[in-house]
Symmetry: C2
């Protein structure tokens, strides 16, 4: 007869469920990459192939590349080219949508968002630096009503991955996200308030969806342009894009190799 309080047949409480998930080796990873130029080196490195039967609805340009690497099922999701204009579907809306759709379709254990970013030399960033992100926030959602202001900033912690950062000797930085490649004065004030070293166009949106759906997310950001430097952002970005994506791709390989065989709680 069961003693009072013995609940061995009951499902474990949520905390224990989460701990169980965190103590199971990671098997499904979704990598989200906004631009084809950033995505293809990673696709090639892990010999991923484009899925002919898309898990996504008809009409969306989203592309899934998939493959197995060591003990991992890897899906790389690229939001694809805009159906009308033919350019990469960059920015927060596309990346939020593909993150949502990929989590629903593929139930990943972990999301990795890999991409290029602008960096602030005043905060120690140089061209080609690769950062693991500790915190994501928005810098272009100003809603000056109490509490809505915090909603607009949308601060989210990335998954900490302390062992990964230590083992791979990676730099850690805060990320600020907005839908513009340039930076207005208002953006700059918000980026400073966000204490950001790197600036991108997707991270905080992916962090928002990952947080809603309770999937741990790691952000790997490589610096293509120095925002507080002398060169125009668009020019510097395009000039360094290919070389820096090669560094990004190497960093993603290091991260994936570290993750292989481990549980979330070991990262």
């Amino acid at each position: 007869m069961a003693a009072l309080g013995d609940q061995s047949d009951a499902p474990p409480p949520p905390d224990q469920q989460t701990m169980a998930a965190q103590n199971k080796p990671i098997s499904n990873i979704v990598i989200i990459v906004a631009m084809q130029t950033e995505a293809l080196p990673i696709v090639n490195r892990f010999q991923l192939t484009e899925e002919p039967n898309s898990p996504f609805p008809q009409g969306v340009p989203w592309v899934r590349y998939r493959g197995t690497y060591k003990d991992l099922n890897i899906s790389l999701i690229w939001p694809g080219k805009d159906p009308v204009l033919g350019v990469d579907s960059v920015g927060t809306i596309s990346s939020a949508l593909v993150t949502y759709a990929a989590v629903q379709a593929l139930q990943p254990d972990l999301i990795i968002n890999a991409g290029t970013a602008g960096g602030f030399k005043a905060k120690g960033a140089s061209i080609g630096d690769v950062f693991i992100v500790s915190d994501c926030a928005f810098h272009d959602r100003r809603i000056p009503i109490p509490v809505f202001d915090l909603y607009g900033v949308g601060l989210r912690k990335a998954f900490e991955a302390a062992n990964l950062v230590k083992e791979l000797n990676l730099k850690v930085a805060k990320l600020s996200t907005g839908d513009s490649l340039d930076m207005s004065q208002q953006d700059e004030s918000s980026i400073i308030a966000n204490d950001a070293t790197v600036k991108d166009m997707e991270g905080a949106a992916i962090a928002y969806v990952a947080d809603l759906l309770k999937v741990p997310a790691i952000f790997v950001k490589a610096v293509t342009d120095i925002i507080d430097g002398d060169k125009p952002t668009a020019e510097e970005f395009l000039q360094n894009l290919a070389a820096v994506t090669a560094k990004l791709d190497l960093a993603v390989e290091q991260v994936i190799n570290f993750i292989n065989g481990k549980c979330i709680s070991e990262l």
Copy 2:
């Protein structure tokens, strides 16, 4: 024996499929509303009730109210309160996500986005005006690289609904969308370039998803504050919110009554 070129067994070509859908009476409508204050009068007017079994995944705050009204199945989707902060999940990311998820789950014939907006008196807007939107674009996605610049603006035509506009004697305006309640100088330049009379925080994102998934979308926007006036936007917005949502709610009822029994091609 079939004559050469007789393809009566084959499915009709896409144009004919679209025409068939457009010539079937509208039965499923999804109304997307960002704020609870805007949503509840519409919920009450059509006696919608909150769906206990959400069609949405666990963890998201999105709420579906549903009901039947005349010949229509109406779902009102409200993105809900932010799980952390308790304020309405306003803005482009939440509205894009709920539009995507609602179309996937509910396969509507038509989307209606109803909400409040800022208006420009220089373009003829007054407090309480209700507009049907002809065009949606973004004003805070500046990507100064050729073609990406157009992607950032993201111009989309709303469903024209010429008969609806004429019959109900509604005003028509262009809408500009951004994630800030305020307006920076850069936003203002883009809003002028977008030729916008009304400014909101969701429309262009909903138009983007509706266009990807090929669902016609109508936008009903009621003016709560005059952007080029003397009063601070946040204060004027909060002051007029309740009175203007009453006007919005009446306009939505007129629109729904007009739609009832009609096909898309008759709107």
